[in-house]
């Protein structure tokens, strides 16, 4: 069987919603299990005394990247069909910074806020209202910032394409960066957080 399953018509819209629901529940469950339902744990990342967020996210990236690479290698996954979010370099750098500021202030990112909301935390309710308010404000100011939002378009690009290097080299480099990052993160935790 070849993936992407939805794109190749192995199931329809209803089934895709069910799959999305199951994946979403699983995602929320593991966020909660990792302790990411708590704003304290998440905010600790920015004070550098608990690098769990960095480690969990980088673990997810490396696991998914290796999985996708090997599934593509043995021919079960068609990488050409995997949807890539188009790159708009400067707008996305700015958007990332805005999200980061909101992350530090609110103590959640959008996904973890929903997981936290499911466990009934009040700060998560406030955060969720903030998401809706922010979405509304963005829609209202969109006409004014439209030109900037759509500037710097690079299309659906990947690192191997941008740097013109083989796919496998980027995979290997990301793994090296991740392992080095883990080592560094643990060192930072020992230094600032007093963890052993």
């Amino acid at each position: 069987m070849m993936t992407p399953l939805y794109k190749y018509g192995f199931f329809g819209d209803e089934m895709s919603l069910l799959v999305a629901f199951a994946l979403g529940i699983g995602f929320g469950f593991f966020l909660e299990r990792a302790g990411f339902g708590s704003a304290r744990k998440l905010a600790a990342q920015f004070y550098l005394y608990d690098m769990s967020v960095f480690k969990v996210m980088f673990t997810a990236i490396v696991t998914a990247m290796l999985g996708v690479t090997y599934l593509g290698w043995i021919g079960w996954l068609d990488l050409g069909q995997v949807y890539l979010v188009p790159t708009f370099l400067r707008p996305q750098i700015l958007g990332g910074l805005v999200l980061g500021v909101g992350f530090v202030i609110g103590g959640y990112c959008p996904g973890t806020s929903v997981a936290s909301l499911a466990t009934g935390r009040i700060d998560a309710v406030v955060y969720a209202l903030g998401i809706f308010a922010g979405t509304f404000v963005y829609a209202e100011v969109y006409p004014a910032i439209k030109d900037f939002v759509n500037s710097d378009s690079m299309g659906q690009v990947t690192l191997p394409e941008v740097f013109d290097v083989p796919w496998g080299l980027v995979v290997f480099a990301v793994v090296i960066i991740a392992v080095a990052g883990f080592w560094g993160a643990s060192a930072v935790e020992r230094w600032i957080g007093g963890k052993s």
């Binding site: 290796l66 290698w73 068609d78 990488l79 050409g80 069909q81 392992v179």
Partner: protein, 228 residues
């Protein structure tokens, strides 16, 4: 030698490193969605290096060359009625899955040439580098190889050259024509050579067909209904 005891995290990191190193040699599958070098393709189109003239193709067949695959992109019925000897029938829709080696030399033809040109892009997109189309398609084959027209008031040199062309035409079961013949025959009125009849004995070696698709052409018969 004793291995140092590793923590779970160190073991996982080792696994990731090993897999990452293995990925250096990976060639992830990219399916039917590809990137094309449009500039390179445009250059090939402009320089017309992707064309095979019908006369060249005829010469290859007469020589019995087997270093290429000749694909007929028309429907099965049209293929059954007439096709260039040694051709294999592959409707365009079957082309993406047709087993071809990446470096194999492929010559395509269709009725006029549009389908062949489109199929040319399709195969180029699949990474085949040696793809050619027959200039003018089967129409070109008919006009230049099967039913060549001798120029009116031809010079002796031209006549000598036309004699060779005419021999090739007869080899493929066609009929060389004079200019007045050509004027008399309305479009599509020529009788196509019959297929799948025993090769005429006086013909030199017929082109060895591509595997499984041999259909030597005979001299034209007087029976109609084989026309295209």
């Amino acid at each position: 030698m004793r291995w140092p005891a590793l923590t779970l995290n160190q073991k996982l990191a080792t696994v990731a490193l090993v897999l990452g190193a293995g990925a250096l040699f990976s060639q992830p599958h990219r399916g039917p969605v590809v990137k094309l070098d449009t500039r390179e393709l445009a250059m090939i189109v402009e320089k017309e290096v992707d064309h095979v003239k019908p006369a060249e193709l005829a010469a290859w067949i007469v020589e019995g060359r087997t270093d290429y695959r000749l694909l007929d992109l028309r429907s099965e019925a049209e293929f059954a009625a007439y096709h260039v000897p040694t051709a294999e029938n592959v409707p365009v829709s079957a082309l993406p899955d047709f087993p071809l080696l990446p470096q194999e030399k492929v010559v395509l033809y269709s009725e006029g040439g549009i389908h062949a040109a489109q199929a040319w892009f399709l195969l180029r997109a699949q990474g085949h580098t040696a793809v050619y189309t027959v200039l003018g398609g089967l129409d070109g084959w008919k006009d230049e190889v099967l039913f060549p027209v001798m120029p009116a008031d031809a010079s002796p040199q031209e006549l000598a050259r036309f004699e060779r062309t005419a021999a090739v035409a007869r080899f493929f079961g066609g009929t060389p024509r004079t200019a007045s013949d050509a004027a008399a025959v309305t479009d599509g009125g020529q009788q196509m050579p019959a297929l799948a009849t025993p090769a005429a004995p006086e013909l030199p070696r017929l082109a060895p067909a591509a595997p499984g698709r041999s259909s030597p052409v005979s001299a034209p018969t007087k029976k109609k209904k084989e026309g295209c």
